[in-house]
Symmetry: C2
Subunit: 351 residues, 2 copies
Amino acid sequence: MSEGLPPSPGSSPTLEDVARAAGVSRATVSRVINGIRNVDPAIQETVRRAIAATGYVPNQAARSLVTRRTGAIALVVSGAGDESGEDPFPGQVFADPFFGRVAGGVVGFLRPRGVHPILMFAETDETRAQVLTYLRQGNADGAVLVSTNADDPLPRLLVDAGLPAVLFARPPEPLPISYVDVQHRAGAKLAADHLVARGCRRIATISGPLAVLAGQDRLAGFRDAMAMHGHPYIPCVEGRFTYPSGEAAMERLLAEHPDVDGVFVANDVMAQAALMVLRHHGRRVPEDVAVVGFDDSSAALACRPPLTTIRHPVEDMAAEMARLLLAHIEEPDRQPTSVIFEPSLVVRESA
Amino acid sequence: MSEGLPPSPGSSPTLEDVARAAGVSRATVSRVINGIRNVDPAIQETVRRAIAATGYVPNQAARSLVTRRTGAIALVVSGAGDESGEDPFPGQVFADPFFGRVAGGVVGFLRPRGVHPILMFAETDETRAQVLTYLRQGNADGAVLVSTNADDPLPRLLVDAGLPAVLFARPPEPLPISYVDVQHRAGAKLAADHLVARGCRRIATISGPLAVLAGQDRLAGFRDAMAMHGHPYIPCVEGRFTYPSGEAAMERLLAEHPDVDGVFVANDVMAQAALMVLRHHGRRVPEDVAVVGFDDSSAALACRPPLTTIRHPVEDMAAEMARLLLAHIEEPDRQPTSVIFEPSLVVRESA
DNA sequence: CTCACCACAGAGAGCGCTCTCTTCCTCTTC
DNA sequence: GAAGAGGAAGAGAGCGCTCTCTGTGGTGAG
């Protein structure tokens, strides 16, 4: 204990300091910290005590330099902001409860594993390049990506760069990359079956943007199912998954088809808007018009009446997406995998 | 060019490789990359070409090791999840448009500066410790913190640890730490003045959680202003800034004070719920009951009628918060600063 | 013509950690 | 009792970068 000087003043203690305090070598301290066997329990104890005494905290940069791992991944929201191009702040996306659920699911999975998400937006070529550079610099070990439009070039760029990445939703063009998705068509079929079973006869739909696969699939699935029920023609107005677009779509639907008695709306946010419009026009829901949404997001519960909707297990999907990414990081040669989730019908009061 | 082997296969090129390709020393390449003067323009050009040829990307870990900077900051949401303790996923907070605006403002400021936010949640002692360790390990250079409850211990922990941090909202106990805030009382006064000027006589309020300073201040400010207008007693029901709590509060207000003709609701989300309840009870807005919200969030525009509200410049505040944090990181001995923003009245149709 | 001075480039010492390689020592085993 | 096996600890070489220090050639002043 004669040379027990407090580590160097000002700067934080290093492995070396701990080693000296414990009277062992740097390597041994490292072994203890990283939980590698082959260390005498008594020495382990001594080292642990020395760590506590010195207040040692490992330096992540030094560690990353040799392990080539950062313990961080990029959570990229891509193609956002295009719609409202004048916005000086990115991340209006957050306003959508959908994104919140994705982030929640990702964090829920990563946190117990000591991995942290770095929030990134990529809506222009420049910002996409930024994401790529960021990953190549080794700031993050991989990326999970939520695209908001179908022609997003980022998935391809990531594949070409050989960077570990997982998508939320199937890429429009076939790409050797892992992704998670939900069976949009099956979900839409549940909605169709429910509306028909309820006795609705004049059924219409408000679709999502047809530039997005989810929008296309939900519409196609709905139409297919309705055709099976003997309704070959289903009026449709295209929305953009946003509240205002849902409002406009419902207004138009009502103007063109005043006798409508059942509507499948491709997401809850637009369904909420539709409900508002229906009420405004004096239509009772579900008596006059039954409405089924999609997502089972927080918006569904904020609706009056509470929204009957198709449950989209976003949190579970996001967690799975994170799981896949870690697997790819761990094992770079792993084959791409897709995990498809089942939607389910949640009956509330609107239909 | 005789020893012009492609950098080591598999691994990415290093400074050394670029230096060799350009026929200069590592130091010179480093100078060029970091834009330090004293480099012959011709050599700069050669180096730049070599960088392009080798596809060199600097390794951030190596850089961080010596500079002691990561170019990342933690974006911490603290005290979240307590309310709905049963939630397996953190980050329901995201559902609140407020958080989205903060994230957007922070990212908007940081991104042009090459700094990235790491998303963290801290709702328990364990996760708070995690945040602290994370920062101490040098994973991030500092933290911006959004607390959702007043007795959050994290600000104090950050101060005690001497870590650069900036808060969104004044800490309840005086603490040597920088923060940004809005004049809640002045905003509430604007609402009071507007309701009175409109001719409302039986005015009530739905406050935010009184455990939060913002909740307290908005209520106090509103009551003070109303007292100045000769209304010493203002009925109040406490909400929790959430949609369901706003609903319940409005129901109760209506039950206890059926003659109410003006309501100040402490945030837009609750105001939206209040509007729904009023309509349900057949009250016309603004004819029968005028409603003023607070925040001017996206919820205000989704309301029918569109919500008259107090504008809370969240994005600007978030950007300022990020600016302050970078300043503190740059200059560790900087004195704590507070920046207080002015709210303003946004008149729409609800009042 | 000499010398101080400046502008620029290179050499090389780390930053703090991990991990392989080596050494040492204690057990078995015949 | 000697030899081999195997477990546990230390030595030391980097990981890729920044940055200080040193060296060198060219310029202007004395």
